[in-house]
Amino acid sequence: MRSIQFREALREAMQEEMRRDETVFLMGEEVAEYDGAYKVSQGMLAEFGDKRVIDTPIAELGFAGIGVGAAMNGLRPVIEFMTFNFSLVAIDQVINSAAKMMSMSGGQFTVPIVFRGPTASAGMLSSQHSQAFDNWYANTPGLKVIVPSNPYDAKGLLKSAIRDNDPVIFMESEQMYGEKGEVPEEEYLIPIGKADVKRVGTDVTLVSFGKIIKTCFAAAEELEKEGISCEIIDLRTIRPIDYDTVLDSVRKTNRLVIVEEAWPLGSIATEVTFKVQKDAFDYLDAPILRVTSADVPLPYAPTLIEAALPNANKVIAAVKQVMYK
């Protein structure tokens, strides 16, 4: 099978959906003439023209709201945030408009929109450019939230997101855009809300999603050498969460470590932990542990980043702790 970059997978998803449906358009900062701040939309202006690939001024609140209004009136916008850090100035339109419109109109107005862009840390960018708000958006009813971890999932899930009739938050990573993965030539869709068992194992379940799941793969390889078998579940969608896949795995391994790039309080890890203790309490042979970002703004210095972010060593330590080794 051919191998393509994460950014190419996203681009193909948008191109295919725009060829299929005239109402789909892409709007955001630098998406058109600049070919995308991270080259995700490279070539799309040339193919679709400036009616459907639209550069905006730096006005996230304004163009997020214009996207929601357009979706209420029959279009299917894909709104790109250069990063989700900048979505904070637009969050009123995401939470108060997109997520609420269907409910407060008694079902009359729906908002088939995708807000997409990179999330979380991406090198030495300091505090304002390194935040994972995945769990913030996942907290809000009315939204769906997708955080893919490889090109194959990214393409199939973005196509589903664009076709979905509900507002979808689609969170990528600057550090993944150049990563390659196998993606078939043929069209495919991946359903929203389904987790994927990325590695089968027997001793401990690792639950993660997005870019940071790589720390789980690295840890699992090391632990394999020591005879510890890790099962890795990629949630892929964090609203809704596929609890059943997690519960099935924990009932098999009896041990759970959750790895997430958000801050610890009120994280997806917290939520999954609640669900597992409630529905699989008797299956647990050890307390559930989590590896998250440190409970501080992410600083600039590499030593502090190393100390703050989840990494393979921290995951290995957590796994050994739940194994009592």
């Binding site: 209004g69 357009a70 279009l75 409910s103 107005f109 009315g142």
Partner: protein, 331 residues
């Protein structure tokens, strides 16, 4: 006597609809005091000409969106008063199925895109509704209403800039009643003439006497022709006045009784009635007949709302997602 600017039929229509809205809002105020309407309740009394002078211009298929002082706009757009009163009373027969309340009236059928509760939030939405029409090659226009308080929000400036940049067919209408809740325009800005904000974006902008339905009609006609003609957005600052408080819990200490009385002398409904009388287009019997007819409509809306059921508890998990099997967390 100066010749009336519009036909007898037009004045009669304005009189009847504005009087209906006035009586409807008076009733809503009474019901709120009796706690039969809950939540917040922002009445439109005094501002009727702002909407009446616009709906006499636009087409049925044009779009409208507004803020949270929104009981009257949807009625003007064709929504039955029963559906508004039922929504105020949180009934399933309300125009938003009892899920929106006073601040969130909606009607897809009448292309009323809602009452919105975050000040200024509806301004980019209005631009976006117009964006979709332009994208689809439709010649509909969007009327996007806001209060004078919303002019201070960043959302307005971002939306104005892009609406001009992309020549969107939207008419922004500031209903300047001079008070953002209890804070006067003078206390929030050095730019007292709010229509001048549009000039910052080179948007055609105009101040309008909002106590005169004729003036609002003329200004809206100019604005609609401009926007429908593909020339982009227009800003109207309609100077109006609310005779009641910001909401039902407003002590009103920020303005004088004399000021309120002064504006009541310019009551837009009285002005239209005077025109009808001066032209001998209406007699006392006809005025009484209109009063009775309107009273019956308002009473019927209350009866309809009272007799309608609240939403059943099973409605809680409906209308949140289009996906009908969305797996809610239910514990």
């Amino acid at each position: 006597m100066a010749k009336a600017r519009f036909s007898k039929e037009q004045y009669l229509k304005w009189y009847e609809e504005m009087l209906l809205w006035r009586r409807f809002e008076e009733k809503a105020g009474q019901l709120y005091i009796q706690q039969r309407i809950r939540g917040f309740c922002h009445l439109y009394i005094g501002q009727e000409a702002v909407v009446a002078g616009a709906t006499s211009v636009i087409r049925h298929d044009d779009n409208m969106i507004s803020a949270y002082r929104d009981h009257v706009h949807p009625i003007a757009k064709g929504v039955h008063p029963n559906a508004i009163m039922a929504e105020l009373m949180a009934k399933i027969t309300g125009c938003s199925k009892g899920k929106g309340g006073s601040m969130h009236m909606f009607s897809a059928e009448h292309r009323f895109f809602g009452g919105h509760g975050i000040v200024g939030g509806q301004i980019p939405l209005g631009a976006g509704i117009a964006f979709a029409d332009k994208y689809n090659g439709s010649d509909r226009v969007t009327l996007c209403y806001m209060g004078d308080g919303a002019v201070r929000q960043g959302a307005l400036h971002e939306a104005f800039n892009m609406a001009m940049l992309w020549k969107l067919p939207v008419i922004f209408i500031i209903e300047n009643n001079n008070y953002a809740m209890g804070t006067s325009v003078e206390r929030t800005t050095n730019v007292l003439e709010l229509h001048k904000i549009g000039l910052s974006y080179e948007m055609p902008s105009k101040a309008v006497n909002g106590m005169s339905v004729e003036d609002v009609h003329d200004a809206t006609e100019w604005a609609v022709n401009h926007a429908r003609g593909g020339n982009g957005p227009v800003l109207l600052e309609v100077k109006t006045y609310r005779f009641r408080g910001h909401s039902m819990s407003d002590p009103g200490k920020y303005r004088t009784k004399e000021e309120v009385e002064e504006y009541k002398k310019q009551d837009p409904i009285e002005q239209v009635l005077n025109t009808l009388k001066k032209n001998k287009w209406i007699n006392d019997a006809e005025i009484d007949a209109i009063d009775e007819k309107i009273k019956a409509i308002v009473e019927e809306s209350v009866r309809f709302a009272e007799e309608s059921p609240y939403p059943d508890a099973s409605e809680l998990y409906k209308d949140v997602y289009v996906q009908d099997d969305y797996p809610y967390i239910i514990e």
